[in-house]
Amino acid sequence: MTTATRTSVDVLVWDALGTVLDPELDQPITDLGFVTEVRVREESSSACTALVRLRLPTYFCAPNFAYLMVADAHDAVRGVDAVTGVEIRLEDHFAAEEINAGAAAEQGFAKTFPRQAGGELADLRLTFQRKAHLACLERACRQLIQDGWQIERLARATLSDLCDGPDAESLLRRRADLGLATGPDARLFVDDHGDPVSAEKLPARLRFAQAVRVSVDGNAHFCRGLLETRYGTRVPKEDAR
């Protein structure tokens, strides 16, 4: 393998890692500064191993979210054609050893923490996908209200009423994650299950969505700040979404 192709595999691995989100912060681990290093090692003419080092804002970050990110990173990098072997190494975390071994063996969370977990992480992921959707929905509605929409009319708004842009893209992505309709005629303001929210219930739901948005954004600020302090580095793309 030449240097040029190795570099391009690096780029592909970084791109793949860019699809891995911190479920709690709803941002890519690459934007959050969680990826310390990507190293691609040539094993033979037809095999190369990608080594990825990950770090988190604190030693005690919740192990369930940490596991999801390590396992998702495995899946994402394994999906890169040129890569035949993957090693994801979470570092400086109280449960790094268990998480790295468990995710590498694809044994699932419950087996990784045998006496401490009561099941897998699908419900946890779903809870946070719903929060992410609600936060994105609030941003979209806030924009519409700024553009002159009355709150009462939002119940009838469809996705075609959104202006193109990062906020609309984020919302569509979160809807797709939850299996909600993404076509232009689909109702904008729907609940966790995709059912439209009535005009009477909408203001209260929107107000709660605002609290969710403030919380998710705030946690991201805090985690970025802690990571910068912990490692003495500046995390770029401060407000990327």
């Binding site: 709690e24 604190t58 030693y59 005690f60 970050c61 919740a62 192990p63 369930n64 109280f94 969370f109 419950a110 923490f113 006496r115 401490q116 977990a117 009561g118 099941g119 897998e120 992480l121 419900d123 946890l124 809870t127 929060k131 107000r207 709660f208 605002q210 609290a211 969710v212 403030v214 919380s215 954004d217 705030g218 946690n219 600020h221 805090f222 700040g225 802690l226 910068e228 302090t229 912990r230």
Partner: protein, 336 residues
Amino acid sequence: MYSKDGENYFIVDGHVALWDGSPQNQANRYGKGFIECFYDYHRNLSPAEWVWPLEKFMKYSEADFVHDLFETGYVDTAIFQPAYLSDFYTHGFHRRDAALALCGQYPDKLVLNEAWDPRYGEAGLERLEALAAAREVKGVKLYTAEWKGDSKGWKLTDEWSCRYLAKCEELGIRNIHIHKGPTVYPLNRDAFDVADVDDVATAFPGLNFIIEHVGLPRLEDFCWIGTQEPNVYGGLAVAIPFMHSRPRYFAQIIGELLYWLDEDRILFGSDYAIWHPKWLVEQFVDFQIPQDMQSEYGVLTPDVKRKILGLNAAKLYDLKVPAEASASSSTDRVPA
């Protein structure tokens, strides 16, 4: 007491500690990791001139404590919120003997809360009774993510936990401070979820549940519970230092809290020694919701600040407030 622009503020610091996180006391790598994590909080959100060297931060003296809180920090009364972390620190993180001695020296300025852990079962209940018999106990601090052998935490709704809460009610310990952490069984669930607070707040209407750090990182869930349960309060420790580095974010936090809970259920706390009360008090009194957010969140009046900085906690802890710092009768927050 703090005075500015003709307004007086009685200061109750609802969350202080006297800890020993020094290497001599660290039982393992977790103890080292824990105090380093605290230190990063300290360094990340303090103004540069308030950052201590790590060595001092790991173990500071009683003289530092008295000086920082009472001599320079404007604190009228401080409440110790103990965390033992016995699996991480050989002699416990909280220096109870030293804190108790300070309480003897400053009986009008210090409140010493106790802690319990439902996993100690009957023996822990007896200990709690003995503590309450020895001196008046007004509150307890509970850290649900504390490790104990294989167990990495517990829930307020656990059967034994409810027995401890009933015992608190019986003993007149009314203030239950709760701190959520990252490792509560089962680990596959969200350990920061505050739903168990909702259940016990309904089951024990005679107790006050003060959620430390206003439920962060689950502000929204905390707000939702706070709006349904009148006996749920929010402690501002960890949230309040954001007003220095991220004032617009802090404005949204305090704005959300005032919207969902109202101004009578938010309590100031420095989380000393993570943050120093002097700059927190000064900056909070000077703080205002940015103009472009005021149509949504209103403004913070001196009366609202007075309640948050001391009067709300004074009510929960039956503290005597000097007349010159009592709430004025003027109307409070300007509605949005």
